[in-house]
């Protein structure tokens, strides 16, 4: 999130409403009701210059950092610590 918060003007607010209607948005609780639940989850963090991407492992316990479809091995220390925490 950028450091300065800018409010939406009426035109932008209308655009946000339109985009929300166009996208298949669901609530968090709707996820729990899904059977079977999705195997692969992806997270996106849209920044000012880059888009961060993470993906869940197949057991849906740990979030793994991805770049260009590859696991970021240089961030593996956090991944390991989280994996240990989830295995416990």
């Amino acid at each position: 999130m950028s450091s300065t918060f800018q409010r939406l003007n009426p035109h932008q607010a209308r655009l946000v409403a339109l985009l929300k209607r166009a996208l298949p948005l669901r609530s968090r609780d709707a996820f729990r009701a899904l059977h079977p639940q999705p195997q692969r989850l992806m997270a996106l963090d849209v920044g000012d210059a880059f888009v961060g991407m993470a993906m869940s492992d197949k057991w849906q316990r740990v979030a793994l950092p991805f770049k260009d479809g590859q696991l970021r091995r240089d961030l593996v220390s956090t991944v390991e610590s989280k994996a240990c925490w989830s295995c416990r």
Binding site: F5, P24, R26, R28, A43, T78
Partner: protein
């Protein structure tokens, strides 16, 4: 945000989605005290760019996750990992995405698992005392092997009723004894009237 730049990034993400067969996406939605800002609009625009109608993607649902100060938290995490300033800019958004997804997984998956865990290990769950090897079977020596749970409950209820009757009888005996000691008058009021 330039349009060409956004398109290029959207293309890359679309490729990954198809390659990894991603079914659901969690997107950080930077709201501030429940208010939507311009950054929210940029996020939605980018998401629409990724999921444009002509392209068929396996993603069936998108979940917006309220992310506030995840970038700051990601900075702190990278500091703890001793990653240089030069590489930090590259890693920052990925680390923020990891935080968003981990938060979501913890909320959705672990909360439901916790409930299941409680159900599995609930001590109040009725246990068949006739089952060989169960703690109940070993503890209750007087219980017959072929006695059903219902019969056992009936026997317990009978024993309780019997003990209650005995207690009532004892109480009555004590009251009678007290009255004989104090005289024929039943209550202090009657005693005062006699006097």
């Amino acid at each position: 945000m330039s349009v060409t730049h956004a398109c290029a990034r959207a293309d890359r993400i679309r490729d990954v989605v198809v390659q990894k067969n991603v079914e659901a996406a969690v997107v950080g939605y930077p709201m501030f005290n429940g208010l939507e800002g311009v950054q929210c609009l940029h996020t939605l625009e980018f998401l629409y760019e990724v999921m444009r109608p002509p392209v068929s993607l396996p993603i069936t649902s998108v979940y917006l996750c309220d992310e506030l100060f995840t970038t700051q938290q990601a900075k702190r995490n990278l500091d703890a990992m001793n990653i240089s300033e030069k590489n930090r800019r590259d890693h920052l958004d990925h680390e923020a995405a990891v935080l968003i997804l981990q938060d979501y997984i913890d909320y959705v998956v672990f909360a439901s698992n916790e409930k299941r865990f409680v159900e599995l290990f609930d001590e109040k769950k009725p246990v068949d005392p006739n089952k060989r090897g169960s703690k109940f079977y070993k503890k209750q020596k007087g219980l017959r092997i072929n006695e059903s749970v219902q019969q056992h409950a009936e026997r317990l209820a009978q024993a309780q009723a019997q003990s209650q009757q005995e207690a009532e009888v004892i109480d009555q005996q004590q009251v009678d004894q007290h009255q004989t000691e104090m005289g024929t008058a039943d209550t202090p009021v009657e005693k005062a009237a006699e006097l």
